[in-house]
């Protein structure tokens, strides 16, 4: 966002700022971190040498960063003049964003370090950004791997066996294709680390046997790369060829030959550390990835424990289905080892009879085999008491997301749009989805009593919309004969003309293929009669929608700060409208603030899972997006919400907003577009209006 013009004593267009002008502007922006000894004089002097565009860039971003962290802005201003001289203009922004992302992720030190790392931006034009290729790589690794391996960014490439971390950008190669190939090869290597058991030994212990464990780990990393490349060459020969072409054939050290055997394990690599430990540089180092044994061990341990429980639950359930205790015991055997045919490798038997495991169980088995090399006996010895299925269902959800927090509910991370930076803050918001606590059943009864005639009327109107079936006349073919057409045709024929061909009738049902998501504001500001009106409106809406037969879901949203965004389930798409949903509607209570962006992104994801020709996202709101403490209030929040809605739009979802805020005209058209919102003047009218608005909207 450009600085307000009053802050810029601008020289005539095209002219450069003089050092003293820069000094006063920077001084104002960075005031909070300046002191007698720490001034902006030097910065201003070196910035005075830049051209006008460069100066504008420094001032603009110093201002933007100062709003996030003034110290980081100071570091930026110090580094900028030198960096701008070195790297291409097209890359300067990428450099700044990279640093701010690092700050957002790991704090000031990391941000400062990122500012110093200018090398990746120096061959810039061909650089490949993680964001641009993330989805392709994600799908690529999902294809390779039996279990989900999410990708995230980090300073160095590594995997903790649950997630693959990759650098923000790669610019080692001369062309975009080469850089993409670097990404792809790194992903494949890290995948191979999880697939072929790099972390199945205690690497820390192995390396601690040497005087310099870090150097030992470095050596081991290179040896593992050799071993895993041999696997990759067998399984993905095309990729192996391409990477070999990229870096040129290197002869492999003779001592490493045992690592090339298909049966080689990480233990073989560990044994070889000694051979190469003395060398200053390891035998082979084509990848910029590292080993992180500490993190991997922790993650792996947690996963093993979790999956053990999940497997035992799943087996217990399976045995229950197959006839309980009489069915006998489970045994599992490896059937002809064949690379890559993941789940089919194992034959599960129950009391000597082969059973085909459900997909989820097959995936668990595969995942455990990846960790442990086999399914240990005690996994199969299950007691007779099967876990209630919801216990393991919760497990499974946590497993799929790869995210668990203390509370046990699954946490989702969402990006947030920072309009000042013109970029997303990655994984900025943490969102949880929970059920609304059921409330007082009396409430719904009261609504029925209060609005009885309205509900009956609504139902009739909506049933009419639903039952539309048209009888098409004069069709070339159809189920029945159109007598009118036939009589006319017969007359025509007797008069000497031909019998017309359109003589049939056909019934055609007008099908509504529509899914709608209602997103209800549960912020603190709805307290009192607005909340009451919202709940009444929802009851009536549900009655109407049941008559109509559209698929619908209702979620409330609220939250306080970016780490505690919340979405409350009132009704999922696949849930029937019954007593539970009714009592959840009654239980909707005002909560905290309205950080809308994250909620929209989450519900967009939910809506996107449903298959329908038309998808609507209808927001019931009472005001602007806002949040406690940080700067979500105002322009930032509006722009983020707008961006989230644009994302939804790209997925073919049509957003709409029903509001009771009289000032809505000032900001809603910007967020939802000129026509995609409506104002209900009085909250009391909500119950009567909402269903009606929906009918118009979906007609």
């Amino acid at each position: 966002m450009p600085l307000p013009s009053s802050e810029r004593p601008a020289p005539a267009a095209g002219e450069r700022y003089a050092a003293h002008q820069l000094e006063s502007q920077l001084g104002r922006l960075l005031e909070a971190v300046l002191s007698l000894r720490r001034t902006v004089t030097d910065i201003a002097e070196s910035a005075a040498m830049l051209d006008r565009d460069g100066q504008a860039f420094v001032l603009h971003w110093t201002g933007v960063i100062a709003r996030t962290n003034v110290e980081l802005a100071f570091q930026f201003a110090t580094a900028a003049p030198g960096t701008l001289a070195r790297i291409d203009r097209s890359q300067t922004e990428a450099w700044v964003i990279h640093a701010i992302d690092a700050y957002d992720r790991d704090g000031l030190q990391s941000g400062t370090e990122a500012l110093r790392e200018t090398a990746p931006f120096e061959h810039a034009a061909a650089a490949v950004e993680f964001d641009a290729v993330a989805r392709v790589l994600q799908l690529f690794v999902q294809g390779l791997s039996g279990r989900p391996l999410p990708l995230e960014t980090a300073r160095e490439a590594y995997t903790d066996t649950d997630t693959i971390f990759l650098p923000n950008r790669i610019s080692r190669g001369a062309t975009c294709e080469e850089n993409f190939l670097h990404y792809k090869a790194t992903v494949a290597l890290l995948w191979a680390q999880t697939r072929h058991g790099t972390y199945s030994a205690d690497l820390e212990k192995a390396c601690n046997a040497y005087p310099d464990p870090r150097h030992a780990l470095h050596t081991l990393n290179a040896l593992e790369a050799i071993r895993l490349e041999a696997h990759i060459e067998r399984e993905l020969p095309g990729l192996a060829r391409a990477t070999a072409a990229l870096r040129g054939e290197e002869p492999i050290d003779e001592r490493c030959v045992p690592l090339l055997a298909p049966s080689a394990t990480v233990e073989d690599s560990i044994r070889l550390i000694g051979e190469f430990y003395a060398c200053a540089s390891p035998p082979h180092d084509a990848y910029a990835s590292v080993l992180q044994p500490g993190r991997a061990a922790a993650v792996r341990e947690r996963r093993i424990a979790r999956e053990k429980k999940a497997i035992r639950d799943a087996l217990a359930r399976l045995r229950e289905e197959m006839g309980g205790d009489e069915a006998g015991a489970f045994t599992i055997e490896e059937a002809g080892a064949r690379e890559l045919s993941a789940a089919g490798e194992y034959v599960l038997e129950l009391g000597g009879v082969p059973v085909s495991p459900p997909a989820e169980l097959a995936r668990l088995i595969d995942s455990v085999v990846q960790d442990l090399g086999q399914i240990p006996e005690d996994y199969l010895a299950i007691a007779g008491d099967a876990q209630p299925w919801y216990a393991s269902r919760a497990n499974r959800d946590a497993l799929e997301s790869g995210n668990e927090d203390q509370g046990g509910t699954q946490a989702y991370r969402y990006d947030e749009w920072d309009h000042a930076r013109g970029h997303y803050r990655r994984g900025w918001c943490m969102l949880r989805e929970t059920d609304v606590q059921p409330g007082d059943d009396e409430f719904v009864k009261r609504v029925y009593a209060k609005h009885a005639s309205n509900i009956a009327r609504l139902k009739r109107t909506f049933e009419l919309v639903r039952g539309e079936e048209r009888l098409l006349k004069r069709q070339p073919e159809g189920d029945g004969i159109d007598l009118d057409a036939l009589v006319e045709g017969y007359c025509d024929m007797n008069a000497g003309t031909e019998l017309p061909p359109l003589l049939f009738t056909r019934r055609r049902k007008i099908e509504r293929d529509l899914a709608v998501m209602f997103m209800v504001d549960m912020s603190g500001s709805t307290k009192g009669w607005i909340n009451e009106a919202e709940r009444e409106a929802l009851v009536m809406l549900c009655e109407a929608l049941e008559a109509l037969g559209d698929r619908y879901a209702i979620y409330g949203f609220s939250g306080i700060t970016r780490r505690r965004c919340e979405v409350f389930r009132v009704k999922r798409f696949d849930e029937p409208y019954g007593a539970l949903v009714r009592s959840r509607i009654a239980g909707i209570e005002p909560q905290d603030y309205t950080r809308m962006g994250a909620a929209i992104r989450h519900l967009t994801m939910r809506l996107d899972e449903v298959e329908a020709r038309t998808k609507l996202l209808v927001t019931l709101s009472d005001g602007k997006p806002e949040d406690y403490s940080d700067n979500y209030r105002g322009e930032y929040g509006i722009e983020d919400t707008r961006q989230a809605l644009l994302e939804a739009h790209k997925l073919g979802i049509r957003p709409f907003c029903i509001t009771i805020d009289h000032e809505a005209r000032d900001y809603l058209p910007h967020m939802y577009g000129a026509v995609n919102w409506t104002l209900v003047n009085d909250a009391d009218q909500l119950p009567e209006k909402v269903a009606e608005i929906y009918r118009r909207l979906s007609a």
């Binding site: 989805r135 392709v136 790589l137 994600q138 799908l139 690529f140 999902q142 294809g143 390779l144 791997s145 039996g146 792809k184 494949a188 399984e235 993905l236 020969p237 095309g238 990729l239 391409a242 064949r338 890559l340 045919s341 993941a342 089919g344 073919e477 159809g478 189920d479 004969i481 036939l486 009589v487 017969y490 007359c491 024929m493 019998l499 003589l503 056909r506 019934r507 055609r508 049902k509 293929d513 698929r551 696949d574 899972e609 298959e611």
Partner: protein
């Protein structure tokens, strides 16, 4: 005015290709007990429901069984506008006469054929009800418009196929329909069988076939993450045939597999990256 009511001139017309006999043995590679199961169901006059993802060999299996049982085969590909009269038959008007024309289902009943309703869930839900009396021990097809009750001969058999992988709740089979059938589940064949099928159908060499089958497994891992289905055996055969004609493997996979699976640019690229990692 009409002198004669149209109903007085009914004639009966059978279309010439009423039921197609399967003369040559279709290539079919058994994956389990399905042949014995089908045969037993046929002998006991129980209708059969074939479940499984697209391109895994359901249609080929029916053709093979029709050949084996020496019955003609009537195949109907169901679509969302298929009405009961499309199946049973209707009156047509020619030369001021109404003429009754049997639909494929009625033809199959008369001919004692195997009637195969492919992708039955695609048909309108009310349509599937007409098969109910045929699918239980009555084995009758009422033709209401003619007041006729067709009784199925012992050789007649009804076979449905459906793909339970569809996510839409609208595309589920009614309980009252599915419970009349013996169900045979089809999955993609295992690596060994799939390789044999691709070689037999396309004549491609072992090495490339092996890679193609691997590619199929990699794409099947993507099911649910943006793909509704992984590459089917049918797509592998297509790609293999192209390669057999001298098309470069990556081009063949891009055309026959990636483009056939998705329109999403990222997904296309990912599938192509998987293919190029193998070939």
């Amino acid at each position: 005015m009409i002198n004669r009511p149209p109903a007085s001139g009914h004639a009966q017309v059978f279309l010439p290709d009423a039921a197609r006999p399967v003369s040559d043995e279709p290539y079919y590679e058994a994956v389990g007990e399905e042949i014995a199961l089908f045969q037993a169901a046929y002998e006991d006059r129980i209708p059969v429901l074939l479940k499984g993802p697209t391109g895994c060999g359901k249609t080929r299996f029916v053709e093979y069984m029709a050949w084996r049982l020496r019955r003609p085969l009537v195949t109907v590909s169901c679509h969302d506008d298929l009405t009961a009269s499309d199946l049973v038959g209707r009156y047509l008007i020619t030369n001021a006469q109404t003429v009754w024309v049997d639909g494929p289902l009625a033809r199959a009943v008369r001919a004692g054929a195997i009637c195969y309703l492919d992708e039955i869930v695609e048909a309108r839900r009310d349509t599937t009800v007409v098969i109910h009396p045929l699918a239980d021990d009555r084995r009758m097809l009422p033709i209401e418009k003619r007041g006729e009750l067709l009784e199925a001969p012992p050789e007649f058999m009804l076979v449905l196929s459906y793909n339970p992988g569809y996510q839409s709740v609208l595309k589920e089979l009614k309980e009252s329909t599915r419970q009349r059938f013996v169900a045979i589940e089809f999955r993609y064949p295992d690596v060994e069988v799939e390789r044999r099928i691709v070689v037999a159908e396309s004549g491609l060499d072992e090495e490339n076939t092996e890679k193609l089958v691997r590619l199929a497994h990699l794409t099947r891992n993507l099911k649910g993450s943006g793909l509704d289905e992984g590459a089917s055996t049918r797509l592998l055969v297509h790609a293999a045939k192209l390669m057999r004609r001298g098309i470069a493997p990556r081009t063949a996979c891009a055309g026959a597999i990636a483009q056939a699976l998705t329109d999403d640019p990222d997904m296309l690229r990912a599938v192509n990256e998987l293919a190029s990692s193998l070939f």
